[in-house]
Point group: C2
Chain length 311, copies 2
Amino acid sequence: MTVRSFGARLAEEFSAGRHLCAGIDPHAPLLAEWGLADDAAGAERMGREVVAASAGIAACVKPQISFFERFGSAGFLALERVLADARAAGLLVVGDVKRGDIGSTFAAYADAWLAPGSPLEVDAMTVAAYMGFGTLSGAFPYVRDHGKGLFVLAATSNPEAREVQAARRADGSTLAAAMVADAEAFNAAAFGDEAVGSVGVVLGATLDLATFGIETAGSPRRSSWRRRCPCSPPASGRREPGSRTRGRSSGASAAHCSRTSRAAFSRADQRAWRNACAPVRRRSPPRWPTRRDPPPPGVPRARPTQYIRGR
Amino acid sequence: MTVRSFGARLAEEFSAGRHLCAGIDPHAPLLAEWGLADDAAGAERMGREVVAASAGIAACVKPQISFFERFGSAGFLALERVLADARAAGLLVVGDVKRGDIGSTFAAYADAWLAPGSPLEVDAMTVAAYMGFGTLSGAFPYVRDHGKGLFVLAATSNPEAREVQAARRADGSTLAAAMVADAEAFNAAAFGDEAVGSVGVVLGATLDLATFGIETAGSPRRSSWRRRCPCSPPASGRREPGSRTRGRSSGASAAHCSRTSRAAFSRADQRAWRNACAPVRRRSPPRWPTRRDPPPPGVPRARPTQYIRGR
């Protein structure tokens, strides 16, 4: 059986009109808002409800692992049940773990999250490469041969990130731009014949990426991405800047919203959210999607190269 | 009750002649060498044996979390039992997790690993700050008020790290040097009256740190640290460069060896290992240790400012 790549699976979701990635973020204020206990059982309940509400509507779900990890093994058991539900529902899962290490240690993280049959198996994981892009190589066999994906931190929108990510390497590029270039090079080598590569990058939604030396398809329309979207966090919670996740710079983009406060996305909500989040148009004609499948009834056709933004 | 800082607790260990940090790295080749199954039960068995063999001899143990994480919730349950043993044995525990994220998400990792009473509670954790040193702030209350510690990745010895860690910030410093400076500034502000700060940095044992703009107490003696020490990994395993972990640049240093192949450290082994690992002498007179407690019978007095190196 040929294993389809993560990029190909993501592209199929987009072609089917599903551009949403629902965050699963069971932090204490959000659990309280849901009337759930701040424990592993509460996190499991929230996660499974988000999955149930997202099935058939969202392309993927993105559990933030730290909010499960704080409950120790009980939290991971809860997470495993959420992941099992997501797999059964046919949702792609992006594990937001931001793992990073070297050699056999990173390979063990890849085994944990990307190995087929692992209790914590997801479709893609977020990773950090402070120790160099090459340290991610332990995950590459899973990406090339088992249909898995990576999202590499490049330029994140938290203000304290710039001092690191705008630092310049000996070759003159910023770290952020180098991460993007390395991801593109991997995709070109491994998935040159596919419209969407399987290694994406995390780019902050509120950044002027040109100042990092990163070319994008258009300038952000700040007034629009500051509008609140229905999957933004509750006002009482600790706030984080939004982020967007990009596939290949050739234009393919992963739908991604970093926070979710409610799982029950009505279709009106989806429309409102899409309207609130500014699309970034590509300068060149889109290569993707090549298939023009009609969206499901009631779901508006999304612009093909839209970035779905956080705040 | 006054909570003693992590740095103070570490200094006490050193003063008592305990300079060893025993790694707990249950990767597949090492489990096979021990005759244990490559599963959570095998990892638990190895971890608990290392703890039992280290009690009263080592200052601390350092479980590599990825090797437990690959078994999912069962692996974390195994880890919790290893951590409970280590606490009962009075060993300091450095959780080698290299977590990093922003805002509430990093705070949740700090809750997981540093909150008193958490199932995964350790004494210190390794962290990565690709998103800026300031992102670690969610852990600072635990460091200041609850006796916990951090080891921040600065300059690691894997070859692919240099392109990132030697990148220069707008102020001209390398990322690695900036991480060291930020750790020192935190220690000076929070622990100015203590000989050992509670935020350390990870520095690769095989690096010429001067090329990163990092001042150290002496030049490495390469011939010595390439010698095999008894806690190096088995030849059949995937190999990683060693690393050393530093406290404050004023001279205090955390004993640290990144790999352990055998838990049963005989005292002869300890002596051999110390002899094989080159000490780095400070240029200025040591501030630490100020107390000159005699070492336990049979344990040779270590040089006070020794770095215990990996390979």
